[in-house]
Amino acid sequence: MTAQLSSGTAACPGCIATPAEPARPIPEDVQIALSLPGIHCSACIATVERELNAHSGVEDARVNLTLKRAMIKAAPNIRAADLIPVLERAGFEAHELDPGALSATQSDKAGRDLLMRLAVAGFASMNVMLLSVSVWSGASDATRDMFHWISAAIALPAIAFSAQPFFSNAWSALRVRRLNMDVPIVLAILLALVTSLWETALSGEHAYFDAALTLTFFLLAGRYLDYRTRAAARSAAEELTALEVPRAIRLVDGTEEEVPVAQLKVGELILVRPGGRMPVDGQIVSGQSELDRSLLTGETLPVFAEQGFEVSAGEVNLTGPLTIRATAVGEDTSLHRMADLVAIAESGRSRYTSLADKAAKLYAPGVHILSALSFVGWYIYSGDIRTALNIAAAVLIITCPCALGLAVPAVTTAASGRLFRKGMLIKHATALERLAEVDTVVFDKTGTLTSGAPELINFGDHSRSDLEVALALAEASAHPLSAALVKAAREAGVQPAKVRDITEVPGYGTEGEYRGQRVRLGRSAWVGGQQDAQTSAWLAVGSDRPVAFRYSDALRPGAQEAVEAFKASGKEVILISGDTQGAVHALAEKLGIESWVAEALPQDKALRIKCLNEEGRNVLMVGDGLNDTAALAAAHVSISPASALDAARVASDIVLLGNDLSPIADACDTAVKATKRIRENFQIATVYNVIAVPLAVAGLATPLIAALAMSTSSITVSLNALRLR
C-alpha cells in the first residue's frame, strides 16, 4: 500500500526524473533485504554473514556496512521472518526491507554515469594541462603545433563524452526557447574548441583546449556533488518506505495466506491483527476492537469498532482481531484520495526559483551580450574575423560559471552533511534556501509535538488497592492506555493484585475476578463511568463507584525547546490540529503557543496555510499525519518526523530521523548560514569576473590567465563552502 502511494505521489522532481526501475521478475532465488541498524565493525559483518550463510536455504548473504543492510539470496521457501530470529539470537537488531522499494538505490545508474564522465574529463584535462604547461613555458613553432594537435586529439573525444549532460540540458532549454546556466556553458565549450582548432590549423599561438576541459571537469564535479547529496537523502528516505513491507493476511475459505497488498481485490476478506494497519477501505465482518485514527484525522481518542463499521486504509487496529471485507483497494482508498490532495497543492511549490536560477537569469544573457559586443567591437576595430572570434571565445571562457556551478552544490553538500549528522534528511534541492526564509512555523499536534503515546496524569488520585487491581488487569492487554498504566504503576513500585480469570473483551477492556468480586478496566460505558472529553480508562471493583484513570498525550522530546527557539528567533508559532478543542488548548498553553486552531479538517489546514502564504508569509509546516499532507505540500517548506505516514514523508522537504524535535530550530540557523555562504560564493565568483573580464575584452587574456582565474575561483568557492561544516 505504502509503496504504491509513494510512487504515485513522488514529490521531488528528482524522483520523477529518475523513476524507480520496475521490480525485476523474481527468479527462483528470492532476494531478501534486511536493515541492520546495529552493525558497526568488521566482527559484526563476519558474524552476520556467517550466521546467515549457515542457515539452510540461504545461498549467499552479503552485508553492506555503509547502508547498514544485508542482501540475501535464498531459496523461495525462505522468508525474512525465518532469518530475523537467527540474527536476533546473534545479538543484532534486524528489520525486513521491501526489496521493490529499494531498487532505485541498488542500481545507481545516473551516479555511476556522472562519475565516469568526471573521470574521463579529469584524465583528459590533466594530460592536456601537461602539454599546455610546456607551451606556456616556451615551446614554439613545430613543437607547439604538435602539442596543440595532441591536445585536440585528446580534448575532442573527451568533451564529446563527458560534456553530454550539459549538451542535453542546454538543448532541452533551447527547444522551449529558454535560457539556463547550461546554454552559456555549452556555447563557451564549443566556441573554445572551434577557435582553438582553427588557431591550431593556422599554427596560432593560443589554444584553449585545457580551458574547455577543466571547465567541464569543475562543472561535472559540482553536478556530481549535487547528485550525491540528493542520492544519499533519497536512499535514506527509501529505506524508511521499505521498512513498511506492504503485506496483508487474506482469508480464503477460512485459511490465512499472506499476500502483497497490491494483490487484494474488492470483496475479499482480510484479517487485521491487533497492531496492524488497515490495508484497504472496508467494512468489518466480524470482531470487535478499537481503532487509532490519529494519522488520518489527528484525533487521539481511539474509536470503538464492531461488525458493520466502516474502516479506512491507514487506521490502526488496537485490541482485537478484525475481519474486514474490502470495499475499495489501491488507488480508490480514501487514503489514496487524500494523498491526491498533495498533487494539487504541489504546483505551488514549483513556483519557487532557486538562487542559482536567479543568478542564471541575470548571468546568461549578460555573458552572451558581452561576448557578442566584444566580437562586434573587435571586428569593426581590426577588421579581422579571426582576432574578433578569438577574443569573443576568451570572454566566454573567462566568464564561464565554473565557480557559479560549484557555488550552490558545494554549500548544500556541506550543509546537508551537517544536518544529516544531527538527524535531518534534506530531500529537496532548494529546501535549505526556502527554510532560510521562514517567518511562520505551523505545528501539527498528534504525533508531531506529542509522541502519540498516552501518559497517565492522575496517578496520585488512586488508592493503592485500586492501583494493584488496575495493574493486574492492564498487564493482560496490549492496548496503549493499558501499556501506559502498567508503565506508570511499575515505576511507582506497585505490585499487581492476584486477579483470577482475566479475560480481554476486545473493544471494551479486561475483566477478572478479585476476592470474589468482578473487576473491570476499560471503556466508560462498559465499566459504568461517565465519558468526558478527556482520554480515560475506568476501573470498577465489584459494586464500588468506578474511578477514572486520565491520560494526556506525552510531549515529544525537544518539543518545548523547538517552540521556544522559534519564538526566541522572532518567528510566529501556530498550532493547527484535528483534535478536540480541550486537548489542543491544553497543549498550546503548556508550550506557550498563542495562536491555535482545533478540529481542523485536512482541507482547512491546507487552506489556512494558503491564506498565510497569500499574506506574504513563508510558512514552515511540521506534521506527520495523512491529514497534514496537503498542508505540508502547500507550505513554503515542510518537515515530517520519520514516524510519519509514508505519504506525509513524501510530501515534505525534510525528514526528521530521530525522535527529538529540537534539531528543527538548529536546521533553520544552518539554512540561514548556508544561504549566506551561497550569496558569498556568488560574490566571490563575480569579483573574479570583474578582474578577468576587462582583460579578456581588451584582448589581453591568454589561456594561462583563463586557467588561473578559473581554478582559483573554483577552489576559493569550495573552501568557503567547507567553512560551514
Partner: protein, 52 residues
C-alpha cells in the same frame, strides 16, 4: 627533443591505464560499500584461500 616521441605516448598510456582501471572499478560495484570494504580487510576470514 626526440625524447618527446617516447615520453608523450608513455604519459598518455600511463594515464590511460589509470582511467581504464577506474572505469573497471566503477563498473564492478567497488564503490558500493566503502565503509564495509575498509573493515573487511581486517577480517582474517578467507586469508588462506580466496572466497569461492
Amino acid at each position: 627533443m626526440e625524447v618527446l616521441a617516447y615520453l608523450i605516448p608513455i604519459s598518455l598510456l600511463l594515464g590511460g591505464i589509470g582511467l581504464v582501471a577506474f572505469i573497471y572499478t566503477v563498473r564492478s560495484n567497488q564503490y558500493e560499500d566503502p565503509e564495509g570494504d575498509s573493515r573487511r580487510i581486517l577480517s582474517d576470514e578467507w586469508d588462506d584461500r580466496p572466497k569461492p
